[in-house]
Symmetry: C2
Subunit: 300 residues, 2 copies
């Protein structure tokens, strides 16, 4: 997905919000906004906004000296969902369609996102999404691929949301590799956050190598790209991963809440709709491998 003009004020808003979380020094925050403002003219509009997000968060780190502004917030969100976990598990156990309920809950967890300009309340979100109709629900395609898959590559999104992901992984019934960001960026899930969330109890955890707030293939390491090329089934969580991977020519299942109206438009749904969308399901392994290699050569 390309960068839209609407993304530019939103990026400045994100820089302000994260600046305020990193420091109370108004001069440093002003310096962040000055720097991001000046770089607007150089933002590559044909590339996904998550790539620019990576640069903005590097600027915030450099100016404030704070490597991980969301550290405490991430821990608090993980704790909050862990306390809810027994109730969430009961919801899955008591449901007629365990898999669909676990998918709904995994999407409910996607509200825990400091990359968008929205406030959230986790218990309210769970209640709302349990009752919400899907705008797109490719469940049969999902179940079909799941049944045939030897193993699954699961692209994580945010810390806290990761505890919801654990619930879904437990329902998949197949070996899962859970993919995290290479380092702290916004409240995205890192290796440490995934372990805090108990993901290591149900899945192998690897880093994509991407320092951006998304699985940006041109920034990923070779080990991940090989896994991504050859995975039987890829599940992608959240907006950042959608922005970065919606143009990639391989089968992917996107699970997300469309919190941004631009992404909602791109998917063809309304803002705040919930989505389980299968993309490129017909693309064969040979075609997709060639596509990804091409992509890497172009972008690296």
């Amino acid at each position: 997905m390309k960068t839209y003009l609407d993304c530019l004020p939103c990026m400045l808003q994100q820089a302000l919000r994260t600046g305020r979380i990193a420091t109370e020094d108004e001069r440093q925050i002003k310096q962040i906004l000055d720097t991001v403002g000046t770089m607007i003219k150089d933002i590559p509009m044909d590339r996904p906004p998550t790539e620019t997000g990576n640069i903005i968060y590097r600027i915030i780190r450099e100016i404030t000296g704070v490597a991980d502004p969301y550290k405490d917030i991430k821990s608090a969100n993980i704790r909050e969902v862990q306390v809810m976990y027994p109730d969430l598990k009961r919801m899955v156990n008591n449901s007629r369609n365990r898999l669909l309920t676990a998918i709904r809950l995994a999407i409910a967890g996607n509200v825990i996102d400091f990359g968008v300009n929205k406030e959230f309340n986790i218990p309210q979100s769970v209640q709302q999404i349990i009752d919400q109709d899907f705008a797109i629900l490719n469940l049969e395609l999902f179940r079909d691929q799941l049944n045939r898959a030897g193993s699954i590559l699961y692209l994580g999104d945010n810390a806290g949301e990761s505890v919801f992901d654990k619930l879904l992984i437990e329902e998949l019934g197949k070996p899962v590799t859970y993919v995290v960001r290479d380092g702290p960026i916004i409240n995205d899930v890192t290796m440490a956050d995934a372990v805090d969330s108990g993901i290591h109890q149900v899945a192998e955890i690897i880093s994509s190598g991407s320092p951006a707030p998304a699985t940006v293939l041109s920034l990923c390491n070779d080990q991940f790209l090989k896994r991504f090329d050859n995975a039987d089934m890829v599940i992608s969580k959240g907006l950042g991963n959608y922005e970065s991977l919606s143009g990639v020519n391989r089968p992917i299942f996107f699970l997300l809440k469309a919190k941004c109206h631009l992404i909602a438009n791109h998917i063809g749904v309304r803002e705040n709709d919930i989505v389980l969308k299968a993309l490129n399901i017909g693309v064969s392994i040979n075609d997709r491998n060639r596509s990804i290699n091409k992509y890497r050569n172009q972008e690296k």
Copy 2:
């Protein structure tokens, strides 16, 4: 009122919105955002945001070649309220407190504001504000000054809102001078818009000389400043005028809906509260004249 860090992303958002109204050429709109982004580092944070607003709209005019992007929107808003006018007049006629009802309606008109990031619906706003409690209502002070005033200086805000102003002016029962911006800026009321709204039937109309989206004293002409210095009573409509005049040492009555959370905080109310606030009522004419002269010398 100074410029807050939160104003900076909001300014970029306003530039995008107005750019889109002025042109469909995405490259021109991008150029506007590039230019505004680069100027963020030079924005004087100790000055009201309306002064920067003036510069941003000049940039939009220069890049797009469109002098008055909101021309058609302003005309449509004026027409819409004129169609409502007989009903609004009946609301005043049928009310127990004509003055208070006319004040409420004048504030309802303050939703017609393209300077803030809010959508509005004029009839809904009228209905809502008629039933809404005032967060601040200095009505007795207002009535007291009104009774003692020989004439009134009424600082207009937006086109369309100006038709609501006409209703209030009719209830004041004193000679009124209605003050407009010196030229088109956002959807602010100009001489032509005021005449379109029928203000000339009930008041003298003068320009403040300010090209900014507010009565910025350092940008006003001498004729207006003399009137402002010596006016018995000043009524100021809207957010822009509040931003520019809340720090000026003379009695002013501010009528507004606090659509921006920063301005709401500054006033000491909540976002979307409605306000009739008297400021500096005890300041004598000698003190205030000295203050304004000082202000002009400093800022010009």
